[in-house]
């Protein structure tokens, strides 16, 4: 039993190829069914985000699985050929496949390391697979583990702590000056995209009051609607500068629109309360001489970039710690999968014992003739008790042995001692498909109703 992954990501394939493989949400079910139709694939999860398309599967032999998934990917789009796709794919099996998934879910493989969206996307794709009855015992466990690993990475490292976008860096800096942003007022000067983005972040972080000013009054009204702000005539904004705690400046003007004397006056009128100015315009709109004004903090594009660069460094350092967590968890996962090897033998052994019990009881009942229901029950109870006690030791030993490197020897020995071959053949399909969670689909191909529910519960914990 192997877990494999085949896919491509922003690291291996250009967007024009990735977009060909994207399946629209409405057709996910169809795609999953097509994947599961391949005889070598027992379980499958189809993971797609704007940066990656991957298929996770459980197969008997990794190579069969690889070719199955490859076929599936090539068939996704009519215009795709295998020659076109193959150079961009990566293939992992076993511990490497699990490591890959854990890294993806923890956002260690993302374009922006530590970005938060990927975990949600992993959950969603896993749920899609559950809904369509494509994931079974193994992938359920692996994906649930991946989700918990991602959460652990999030809480135990600072990988997602600092801003790595320029617009968000402005918010972070503002917080270093003001602490709580909910009592602060923002003034947006000009309508540059970057400033609007930063304003949006500020509002999302609690800023209540926004003043806006542009040369184009129509645009000012537009923006006022967007931020629930108050428009202000451009000619007068310098007079009202003192009202703003945070000034975001991004006009198209080729010269400075705010000078040191404006800021000095504002600070004076603010009774020396600090004022925070961000100049995201190129060419710059705020005179760099403003830096000399006490209690005024001016940051331009370069400063914000510097801040972001530092945070990226920080994230890279935290990523090293996160990788260690992932390695730990992969180890735990592998031990669980090892233990799974003993499952078919354990089931077969139990079945074997039950058969013997049943046969022997029938014989005894026949010989003894009339027995009261109580007496029959007592005898059944006795037989069950003996079996349970007798098998407890071997079961524990098998589960333990499965986790050791020479575990397969023990499992082989158990098969041999108890002559389990006939039970195992009968049970093989259960082993492959997963004996507990998986419910057979109806003849019309509709998924059973309860499977997605249980999966959803597990995911949403």
């Amino acid at each position: 039993m192997n877990v494999i992954v085949v896919g491509l990501s922003h690291k291996t394939a250009p967007v024009k190829l990735r977009e060909l493989l994207m399946v629209p949400d409405s057709r996910i079910g169809e795609a999953v069914k097509r994947l599961m139709a391949h005889p070598s694939i027992h379980e499958g999860v189809f993971l797609q985000t704007c940066n990656r398309v991957e298929v996770y599967a459980v197969t008997d032999h990794a190579d069969d699985g690889f070719s199955g998934v490859q076929e599936f990917l090539v068939d996704t789009h009519l215009s795709l050929s295998a020659e076109q796709l193959l150079p961009h794919l990566y293939w992992h099996a076993g511990d490497r496949a699990i490591t890959h998934l854990f890294r993806v879910a923890s956002s260690l493989d993302s374009l922006v390391v530590g970005e938060p969206q990927i975990l949600g996307q992993v959950k969603e794709c896993f749920m899609d697979a559950s809904t369509h009855d494509a994931s079974g015992v193994i992938l359920n466990k692996v994906f649930q583990k991946a989700i918990s690993v991602a959460k652990r990475v999030r809480t135990e490292t600072r990988i997602a702590e600092n801003a790595v976008s320029v617009s968000y860096a402005a918010v972070e800096l503002a917080k270093k000056v003001f602490g709580n942003l909910s009592e602060q007022t923002v003034m947006l000067v000009g309508a540059g995209e970057m400033a609007k983005l930063a304003a949006q972040h500020l509002v999302a972080d609690g800023v209540q009051q926004v003043f806006l000013t542009t040369r184009d009054s129509l645009r000012a009204r537009d923006m006022a609607d967007r931020f629930h702000g108050t428009p202000m005539p451009f000619e007068k904004f310098r007079t009202y500068l003192y009202k703003a705690d945070i000034v975001l400046c991004s006009t198209g003007a080729p010269h400075y629109v705010i000078g040191p004397e404006d800021v000095e006056r504002a600070v004076r009128e603010r009774w020396n309360r600090p004022i925070f100015l961000i100049d995201v315009a190129v060419p710059r709109n705020i005179d760099p001489a403003v830096r000399q004004v006490d209690n005024a903090f001016l940051f331009d594009m370069d400063d914000l970039e510097k801040c972001v660069e530092r945070n990226r460094d920080e994230r890279r350092k935290e990523a090293v710690r996160a990788e260690r967590i992932v390695q730990d968890e992969v180890g735990i996962m592998l031990r669980w999968m090892q233990a799974l090897k003993a499952t078919p033998v354990i089931i077969a052994l139990r079945k074997h014992a039950e058969d013997i019990k049943h046969a022997e009881l029938q014989k005894v009942f026949g010989r003894l003739g009339m027995l009261t229901p109580e007496q029959r029950e007592a005898m059944e109870h006795l037989a069950s008790g003996i079996i349970k006690k007798l098998l407890h030791g071997p079961f524990v030993a098998l589960k333990d042995a499965a986790q050791m490197s020479n575990g397969s020897m023990y499992i082989e020995a158990a098969r041999h001692f108890y002559d389990l071959e006939k039970h195992l053949v009968a049970k093989d399909s259960v082993d492959v498909r997963g004996p507990v969670d998986r419910k057979p689909s109806g003849g019309d191909g509709l998924p059973s109703a309860s499977a997605p529910e249980s999966a959803r519960e597990k995911v949403s914990e």
């Binding site: 270093k176 003001f178 020396n272 903090f297 801040c307």
Partner: protein, 269 residues
């Protein structure tokens, strides 16, 4: 026996201080937690010593300058522990614990004969306690002022380093500065009043113009001006931070005055 416990306290404070200073340069939170543990243990022993000194009673009115400093040091540690408990503000300790440690060290260094006041005034501990509580307020203001100026400088020079990441927002530091002065001032006022009363009893005059009294009055007037300046002409943020740092020098000079006075009026009776 007391000396042994005080030395133990000093040892723990030293370790706490050292770890908290290293914490400023490291990203590990574990350091801060260990430092907190050390400081906590030190503080427990310190509390025991103080309680013992009060309960044992013999010295109750013979408050030495040493025990006053010891109390000052203890109060600073309590403020730090409270700040960590309420806000997880370990970084405050990196600036405050060195001060507490130095205050306690100076009790060991100073000549043991330095006595705060003549034992004739039996309620002298009130004067000392009040003055020390006022001083604690100014010490916290001083620490927040230093932190403010550091963070201001880091922001201005765009040094987004670990220290920048650890220091609290400017606004928070400014408020801490204001509140600690507001809290410290009434205590110092009452401390000075009770001090004047004790001087009246001891020397027959409220004011004898020794260096302790002069510096105490200068300090008091200075903080009064700082407080008024905030509400009337906007002495806040960077200016307030500078002023409180300067004001604390006045506090230290008052301490020096106490020591000098102790030497000029040896109480041998």
């Amino acid at each position: 026996m007391i000396v042994v416990f005080l030395q133990l306290t000093l040892g723990f404070y030293f370790l706490g201080t050292l770890l908290l200073l290293v914490y400023l340069l490291r990203r590990s939170d574990v350091l801060a937690k260990v430092a907190l543990g050390m400081t906590g243990v030190g503080c427990t022993i310190h509390t025991g010593v103080l309680v013992f000194q009060v309960v044992s009673g013999a010295d109750a009115w013979r408050v030495s300058f040493q025990s006053a400093l010891s109390f000052f040091s203890w109060s600073l540690v309590i403020v730090f522990l409270t700040a960590v408990f309420l806000q997880r503000l370990y970084v405050l300790g990196s600036f405050m614990l060195p001060l507490a440690f130095l205050a306690l060290v100076s009790t060991a260094v100073l000549p043991s004969e330095t006595q705060a006041l003549h034992p004739m005034f039996q309620e002298v501990w009130i004067h000392v306690t009040l003055s020390m509580l006022g001083t604690v307020g100014f010490a916290v203001a001083f620490v927040s002022g230093v932190m403010y100026l550091t963070q201001d400088w880091l922001l201005k020079s765009k040094q987004f380093n670990l220290l920048y990441a650890k220091l609290p927002p400017l606004d928070f530091l400014d408020r801490l500065n204001q509140r600690s002065i507001l809290l410290g001032f009434p205590f110092l006022t009452m401390g000075i009043l009770t001090g004047a009363m004790s001087a009246q009893i001891t020397f027959g005059a409220y004011l004898s113009w020794n260096s302790e009294q002069i510096w105490a009055l200068v300090t008091w007037a200075f903080y009064l001006v700082v407080m008024m300046g905030r509400v009337t002409v906007g002495w806040r943020a960077k200016k307030a931070a500078y002023l409180t740092v300067v004001g604390f020098v006045g506090v230290l000079l008052t301490f020096l005055g106490v020591i000098l006075k102790g030497e000029s009026f040896p109480i041998s009776s």
